[in-house]
């Protein structure tokens, strides 16, 4: 089909449309730095969506669970082998993204006879002595976007833009403490969730009021559960990742 450029481009476009349709209802993920590290938050119904990749790297994704699992294992395996063969300090998000994940996503997306990955991935790395946190967003087509102040993934680009705008408006010069970061992340998640529901019905405005945010949170938490993972620089061991337990999350949200 590659010797027939028009058909190939059409097929790619069809594939992109299909993947975006599948991703649209996905529960968004929000990544935020806080005073001692970084936070990933989403609301899920059963299956875990936030994962430890390595000592200072965590991952979350939206998409098909089988694709998420396959690619999570790929990046976890690679990081583990590299850490053993060389040193833990040599495992970093830049290498994992550019030498392992991005081209795997792109290759699957453009091999139109094979299966595509229905996935968008958000990875976060906290610096080892470096002041900056890095959020890396990888799209299903292999495009990579690196940000330092926050990271989000949502069903569509419009949803992600609205979530980023909400975060920008709420931005403070100093990194928040964990409780404040959790609350802000949950509200930002609700912005994305509300928009993913409205886009399913019609092309509505992407403005979401505070009342709507509260309503979405109350409704969604009837069936779903908040899932939050942190990379915490203050943890004493090499591994900086841990999932927050239900009590910690409930205590913060009800505050």
């Amino acid at each position: 089909m590659r010797d027939m450029p028009y058909r190939w481009i059409e097929a790619i476009q069809d594939r992109a449309d299909y993947i975006e349709d599948q991703l649209k209802p996905g529960s968004p993920v929000v990544g935020l730095p806080y005073a001692d590290g970084s936070l990933l938050l989403t609301v899920s119904k059963g299956a875990q969506k936030i994962f430890e990749v390595h000592d200072r790297i965590a991952l979350s994704a939206i998409g098909h669970p089988a694709d998420i699992e396959r690619l999570r294992m790929l990046v976890t395996d690679t990081a583990s082998v590299q850490a053993f063969q060389s040193a833990t300090e040599d495992v970093n998000l830049h290498r994992l993204t550019h030498y392992v994940l991005a081209h795997t996503f792109k290759q699957a997306f453009e091999s139109i006879v094979g299966e595509a990955y229905i996935i968008k991935m958000l990875l976060v790395e906290i610096g080892n002595g470096a002041p900056e946190t890095q959020f890396t967003h990888i799209n299903y087509d292999g495009n990579v976007k690196v940000q330092h102040e926050s990271g989000v993934i949502g069903g569509t680009e419009e949803i992600e833009t609205a979530m980023q705008n909400y975060l920008t408006e709420a931005k403070n010069d100093t990194p928040p403490d964990l409780d404040s970061a959790l609350q802000l992340a949950l509200k930002t998640w609700a912005v994305g969730r509300k928009l993913s529901q409205s886009f399913a019905d019609a092309e509505d405005s992407n403005e979401v009021s505070e009342d709507e945010i509260d309503e979405v949170i109350n409704t969604e938490l009837e069936e779903g559960e908040i899932e939050a993972g942190i990379l915490d620089n203050s943890l004493s061991g090499d591994t900086k990742f841990r999932l927050l337990n239900k009590d910690e999350i409930t205590r913060t949200i009800n505050r």
Binding site: T78, S80, Y99, V100
Partner: protein
């Protein structure tokens, strides 16, 4: 692709990590030619050495076979300690060796034996536990941890049989899910074939262990305070005295080096995880101990 959390299997197949039949470029730069290359290659090389060469190697490589490591249960969990001396024959080659190695948040390996093998086993063990947790989304069970260490020790058997690389460790951990009223500390002793045995109250290994095993038994049975009832300070003072006793009779075990301020390595494993006791605290305990 999925190695079911088995890190050794992952390493063995690392050069063929694939996604849908496509070899990943990223992994291709970390070829693993064979399982545990840094252990296996010397094993293979050692197997073909002429007898007289083996003899030579056995004296130059057996650096820290002589040592003393000791672990005992105390009120809050496990206290585990090792001296710092590494020897080659009658020479002291290093006086700051770390023989008590944290493996994960709640387990520690104390090594006696050839350091190259021992450190590599500790490193593989650490990566194995981490890989299991990260890939399978749960901690490896206590039995799983014990069996992983057994496999590594058994893999090292050819080196042990030639007298150039035996590793006899103590593995101690705290089972965090245990009821808060129960001491979750556990101590395991291994033989050179990888068999493990749980020692309920204490374990010691290395050349200096023969001098203190009886003392441990005496203290545990007839001491003023049983080992398990000791608080952290009492347990620390006791373990420092034990190492001091071992160093008195075993030339390959070092005591406290006051001149260079080199203390033994002492760690505790409790419900809250592994903690290294500071030199300041050890210094205070030494003041009490002597």
């Amino acid at each position: 692709m999925n190695h079911k959390g088995d890190f050794l299997s992952l390493l063995k197949h690392a050069d063929t990590l694939q996604v849908d039949g496509e070899q990943t470029q990223g992994i291709s730069e970390v070829n693993v030619p064979e399982l545990l290359p840094s252990i296996k290659k010397p094993i293979r090389d050692a197997m073909v050495l002429p007898t007289q060469d083996r003899q030579t190697h056995s004296t130059t490589l057996a650096l820290a076979e002589a040592t003393t490591v000791v672990a005992m249960r105390y009120k809050d969990g496990i206290i585990i300690a090792g001296d710092r001396r590494a020897t080659a024959g009658t020479s002291v080659v290093h006086d700051r060796a770390e023989k008590v190695i944290p493996i994960d948040s709640h387990s520690v390996l104390a090594i006696s034996g050839a350091p190259a093998m021992a450190f590599e086993i500790a490193r593989v063990l650490k990566h194995s536990f981490q890989y299991f947790r990260r890939s399978q989304l749960q901690e490896l069970s206590v039995e799983g941890k014990l069996r992983t260490l057994s496999r590594l020790i058994l893999d090292n058997l050819p080196m042990a049989l030639q007298g150039i690389g035996a590793v006899i460790p103590i593995f101690a951990l705290y089972a965090p899910q245990t009821d808060e009223t129960v001491n979750g500390g556990k101590i395991y002793f291994y033989d050179a074939l990888g068999a493990h045995f749980e020692n309920v109250d204490f374990a010691t290994t290395g050349s200096g262990s023969v001098w203190i095993r009886g003392v441990l038994r005496y203290l545990d049975r007839w001491g003023e305070t049983r080992l398990e009832d000791m608080d952290e300070q009492q347990a620390t003072i006791t373990i420092l005295r034990l190492l001091d006793t071992a160093s008195e009779y075993d030339a390959a075990t070092s005591g406290y080096n006051a001149k260079a301020e080199i203390f033994p390595t002492v760690k505790t494993i409790t419900r809250h995880g592994v903690e290294t006791l500071t030199d300041k605290f050890l210094n205070e305990c030494y003041a009490e101990a002597t």
